[in-house]
Symmetry: D2
Subunit: 308 residues, 4 copies
């Protein structure tokens, strides 16, 4: 984060934080603090709360606001805090943005509203409406599997002209799309491009991406930071070696349940097993039962042995 400029630039590993909870209505505050300190100690370049990994859309609104306050206080400016404000109701997005601003968060992140099926012109109009009403800089968040709409390169180009829109996080997994974006925006060096899926952080950083918003850095922040640094340095051999550990995590931790929620369930279960925080998940998801938990514990041990 560039302290000499009014608009910060972002890069590196930003942890999309899981949300530690005791139950449907209460945060696990001890777990939250432990998690934040663990992540920052690992050297990440920022934290991102209230994203998909944070189960944002499942949380009660008072908890979302509380999470912003607590996280900003606990992080205490050691790293930038990005706050997800994705919502189907723009008024609720704006309320979350207000809290973020009051708590001195660094930036906002907003995926398209995900109930109605929008066209690209409607999407542009929406983002401009939102961007006009916020003070913090904002990232677009492309997540077509969940929002039913892809933010097309032309749309990104158009929106990048808005002062408050400073970057994009792409969770599509489609690097053909991502590379088209990078090319199309090649003359706008201030716009940041992050990828979500950690399986592609290595390659996208090698080719010019700004970094990764990678769930695995909740567990093993150092690993992802080292991967990022190796990629920036162009040290291919090191990249390959670290990438292979990331792929093992993807295969052995995120792939144990059925349905699209395996990643999230596996990650939260692992954080529970690592003693960092409670593994409670908010409806409509539910934590792993004993069988998956036992398998995951074994797999996790193997990975820890490699990393130590």
């Amino acid at each position: 984060m560039n302290s000499n400029s009014q608009i910060p630039t972002f890069k590196g590993i930003i942890t999309p934080m899981i949300t530690p909870m005791l139950n449907e209505d209460e945060l696990d505050l001890k777990g939250l603090e432990k998690l934040i300190n663990h992540i920052i100690a690992g050297g990440v370049h920022g934290v991102f709360i209230l994203g998909t990994t944070g189960e944002s859309t499942s949380l009660p609104y008072p908890m979302r606001h509380r999470l912003i306050e607590e996280t900003c206080a606990m992080v205490n400016k050691r790293v930038p805090v990005l706050v997800g404000i994705t919502d189907t109701a723009v008024s609720e997005s704006l309320r979350l943005a207000d809290t973020a601003e009051q708590c001195c968060a660094s930036a906002l992140v907003a995926a398209p509203p995900y109930y109605f099926n929008l066209g690209q012109p409607e999407l542009i109009e929406y983002y401009e409406y939102l961007a006009d009403r916020i003070s913090l800089p904002m990232f677009l968040y492309n997540m077509p599997s969940h929002t039913k709409i892809n933010i097309e390169p032309e749309t990104v180009k158009k929106l990048s002209e808005h002062t408050n829109i400073i970057g994009l996080k792409d969770s599509s997994g489609n690097t053909a799309y991502f590379n088209k974006l990078l090319y199309r925006m090649r003359d706008n060096k201030d716009f940041s491009f992050f990828v979500g899926p950690e399986e592609i952080t290595a390659e996208t950083v090698l080719l010019g991406g700004s970094g990764g918003v990678n769930g695995g850095s909740n567990m093993f922040p150092k690993l992802y930071v080292k991967l990022y640094e190796a990629a920036v340095a162009g040290d291919i051999e090191k990249v390959k070696q670290l990438h292979s550990v990331v792929m093992e995590i993807s295969s052995e931790i995120y792939n144990l349940g059925r349905f699209g929620s395996s990643y999230l369930k596996g990650l939260k279960c692992a954080l529970g097993l690592l003693g960092i925080c409670n593994d409670y998940m908010s409806a409509p998801l539910h934590r792993f039962k004993k069988e998956e938990k036992d398998r995951l514990a074994l797999n996790l041990q193997n990975i820890q042995n490699k990393l130590s």
Copy 2:
């Protein structure tokens, strides 16, 4: 509504009410009252607030709660009030359900949570969690184009065993699916099956469906009630004649914009033109501009002439 039984049965035309608004944060209360009286005067069998047609997911939460209170008070038990509690956060659904219960609403309606991609077993678990925690009876709401999941017939069958789950509204437009549901549930006479798209109300009622939750009944409640009655009576000729007016509405009112939102924009614009309420739409949708409005005014006049 059967006053002799604790579990009401529902049938007929239920109006999925648009939400009259002055701006992003304020209800158009005069419009709301006018609309409610207009609908009830037209003989509809119930009203449904906070559905897709009501832009529920776009509204600030305080407005959603207020809308429940005002509507229940204004309707004043003249017809049953159904309240949409669809949300990605189950805690917010439950809060809406509480308000509905306190205001003596008749039933709840819940579509699947629409952010995460769920499997059918996760969906069953979700609906059971919800149904265990509410007091009012609840309808399932199938809306795959918006929620990314179809509530499979087996899932409906399983959920129908829960005391609090009393029916389903299907907005898929797929009557092959709807007829499979009706057949599969043929021994459960207390379970209600409504369709959303008014283009298929005639045929589904003819073959045993409970009725229609049809947006057009905001404008022309009598037309839809007559159509329902003709279908129940098996008066095919009358059904065909009324159905053809409904199709004209579909073609000339709902089909003027681009994108999936044409229906909603057209309907709200028409209600404004009819002098019933404000045509403000909440983000991410926006009301028609002059060009579409002028065309719609002409089409609307033609339809009114036929109906008078």
Copy 3:
């Protein structure tokens, strides 16, 4: 079929014939003759070969041409023969059309080419190219689940202006779409609209559709013909009673396997059990194994008991 006019009009029950085979390369000619006679004896208004139910796209081309010749000869003008010419290669569609014409078939049926992802203008251009080069009248065939494209109402309207394009078969199951089509084309009384899924034949004929292209009429032609006649006569009680048998067939015969192919596997298995023809299926599908076959035999017996 109107013998006084050059362009026939079609209506009623048209059987989408399964293709009786001995193995990957040989037709079951005895089975084919038995099936044709069985169907015609049941009173159907036409047969349709080389459709989805006929596994057209799985068959070797020489077999497709042979099937046209044999079927036309065996039917011997007792009822109209419709021939599917759907193909990704327009040249192969035209060759099939030539054979159909030489064998005095009555009409052609073509779904959109199903490999490339086309836009509606490309689809119009394609159908016009095809229609310009054939002599027999042609039906459009809407099958979005298999072809990845919906033939939009505007596209149908435009294509209906071509002399050789005389109707549409819709297998989408979406009667909201179907009713929009009927309404949009209400002034073109010569254009025919058939539905594929037998679960919706009753209602679509009640509201003005031309008939059904229903797989079940391979097994029980009389049932479907009676259902059609009752719907045309507006005899709702009889329609309901017959529709409920059709729904039992849908539930108990077409729903025993996994995956999208249950319908086709169940239907062909039943025809084998009824002693009409071989139940061999061409790759990539395969006939039911003993377990499903035994269950199906039981269900089939129950249905036969009701029908006798």
Copy 4:
């Protein structure tokens, strides 16, 4: 290609050849020879005919067989020839495979059958059926946007046990999926993994992929070969520079039309402008009209200037 072993291993840039045609039924044989010599002179590691870029599914079957014969004769073993046998009818796939074997092609490539909607077990059964009946080694071809099915990593793992199945070409553009595949198959060093979209060749080769099957190498084979070599050598700076030209081609040549076919239309148009072969396209696609052609000519000139 390893001449010491019976099973060749493949790597590098394989050109998915467009099919030069004079009209719907005739190959442009002069153009074909010119194209082949141009490509081989550029140093590519193999050619692949009858793929998506070759409009395979649009071509008459006699032309497909003729293309195999002519190409194998013209290439005359200078580089390996891979032959697409993708078809909905397995018998036609086998006939193409026979011709390929007789012409001494090097390998076959087969996407899933693309009409019926299959489950993964049906897909495994299909590929095993096919692989049992061919003599040449075969690549799986993942193309979910066109075939409606993703070949899941577990399916690839299972199929890789078949002697005749030696690799996979992935055209999904989803490198998260691709990296999961590479990791899952990390112990099978003989299995090859190619990507289709040239926008991701650089990164996938950097991380261990076998190479790219890139349409652009029809035009500029040397560029893609150099890119591959730089990636294998781990020369990041050179990779970035060459990758940026590839992205310019993607942006300025493949992006001028509407619909999914822009890539194919742009590529064939460019080959016509380069004087290599006729730009005729088979239905349902059609060559660019003057407007797009003029724009493309300008863009092409800019790229040629950079490359010379």
